[in-house]
Amino acid sequence: MTKIDVPIAEVAAGRSFRRNLAVGLERRPRLRIVLLLGLPLLALFLVYFGSLAILFLNAFWQRDTFTGFIIRDFTLENFLDLGRPVFITVTLRTVAMAVAVTLTCAVIAFPIAYYMARVASPRVRGALVVAVLMPLWASYLIKIYSWKLILSEDGVLNWALSPLGIKGPGFGEIGLWVVFTYLWLPYMILPLFAGLERIPSSLIEASSDLGARTLTTFRKVILPLAFPALIAGSIFTFSLTLGDYITPNQIASGKQFIGNLILSDFGVPNLPLAAAEAFVPLAIIVVYLLIARRLGAFEAL
């Protein structure tokens, strides 16, 4: 035992200290939870929720119209400003876009999710899951950029359509709708796939045994059972559309959406107004999450 230089007693002492600590912690489960959760929650509250609170606070301050400096006098003016027609128009336009994108994603995602979940062999299914995951993670900016190339005047879309004598939508709301659908589609496919995979085959067989046609089975059996998963996917498509400011800037720069309106007010600088405006998409998403939870979407995530 020449290799051990440390006297046995010392090893035993070190070990017994650790052991005592371990036993002490085992006897105090609360202390253990505090030690495990303390750091993550402290960081979360200090950095994230603390920041949201500071932002919220700023919504109640005033801004000196000449200097742009913030005057720390309480006011509700910024919230009253949310009632101005421009802001209401922009909010409605953004929500309409989010709804349109969500519905389009749902329609496009359904066939591929169904194929993945119920038709493909396990091998193909695994490959398809990876194939859907990759574009979800591939650079967000480059995906936007690729559509700038596609939609541009001498881009590939007009090139492909020119033999037919027609033109693509170019940059605008239609183009934006296509690009948003492209960006968030994988977020809809994956939860929908998981939801469809969970439907017991016996239910679908029973439906057809009882004489239901394909369409009836789809409407009366598959769609209701996949609905929570559809809602789960819609959380992503809806909230990502609502909170984006880069895509509207790049694809439909003429039209304002809630994200770039907030950004431009922040840049004025009019932080109090931007802060008040920021709580509109926040509130919409929280309401959406609450509705989604009632519809059972969280069990489907």
Binding site: P40, L44, P111, L133, L136, I142, G243, Y245
Partner: protein, 266 residues
């Protein structure tokens, strides 16, 4: 559904169409990165490695790449520690408000990025903390934690606690049990979560834009280059790098975990 042959064929065609829809735009950027003309006119005129070597020689682009890697490594390191701790607490203990913890950890990634970015930038300004690389790391860490947390939590729910109990019954203290029984089982889940955290941070721009100060990460560099006509050829190459550096970690993550549901972003 009575998946008749026609139905299956229709589904297969729809699947192929969606895959094409997802992959054609991305592959076009890759094609442009090697396009001889260096402009964005379709179709490409020929193959060249000119833009790749130009990009490698470009100082600003190299610095941006380095800044992105540094930010992503920093955010990932924090996410590993905080995410694993929280997942251990939630998976192996019962306490009041346990379900709320998951909800709180998911929030930073689900709320609009423009709000998160503005909130963090306001906080840094109010507290006189400097914007820059450290600010980016802190900002990214807030929403990268959830990726490690979700992966580790999913793993901990799948592995039975009987092994840990057996370890305790055989006389191991809780540190030994963690080191020799629990940790080896959660290791690949931590790694998978870390890879996803890296990919998310490397790609992030919406929040980064608010806290970057003068620091240019790769996405910030790309966003600014959208406005500069003389850099289009470089943007394609930068885009190729951005795609690879987010897609490769994710691919590795899928190999490490059989549970695909945790690789979605929340």
């Amino acid at each position: 559904m009575k998946s008749g042959r026609v139905g299956r064929l229709g589904l297969l065609l729809a699947t192929v169409a969606v895959l094409l829809f997802m992959y054609l735009p991305l592959s076009m950027v890759i094609a442009y990165a090697f396009n001889r003309s260096g402009t964005q006119v379709w179709p490409p005129t020929g193959f060249t490695l000119q833009w790749v070597s130009d990009a490698l020689a470009n100082r600003g682009l190299r610095d941006a790449f380095t800044a992105s890697v540094e930010a992503a490594l920093g955010a990932t390191a924090i996410a590993i520690v905080l995410g694993s701790l929280a997942a251990l607490a939630v998976s192996r203990h019962r306490f009041f408000g346990r379900d709320t913890v998951s909800f709180l950890i998911v929030l930073p990634i689900s709320l609009p990025g423009v709000v998160t970015g503005m909130a963090l930038s306001t906080t840094f300004a109010t507290t006189d903390l400097p914007l820059g690389l450290v600010a980016i790391v802190v900002a990214h860490a807030t929403f990268c934690v959830v990726l490690v947390y979700n992966n580790v939590l999913a793993r901990m729910r799948r592995i039975s606690s009987t092994l840990e109990e057996a370890s305790g019954d055989l006389g191991a203290d809780s540190f030994q049990t963690f080191r020799f029984v629990t940790f080896p089982q959660m290791r690949t889940a931590i790694l998978a979560g870390a890879l996803l955290a890296f990919a998310l941070s490397f790609d992030e721009v919406i929040v980064t834009f608010f806290v970057a100060g003068g620091v240019k990460t790769l996405p910030v560099w790309i966003l600014e280059s959208f406005r500069l006509a003389n850099q289009v050829a470089l943007v394609n190459v930068a885009g190729l790098a951005a795609i690879l550096l987010s897609v490769i970690p994710v691919y590795l993550a899928t190999r490490l975990t059989s549970d695909s549901s945790t690789i979605g972003r929340t």
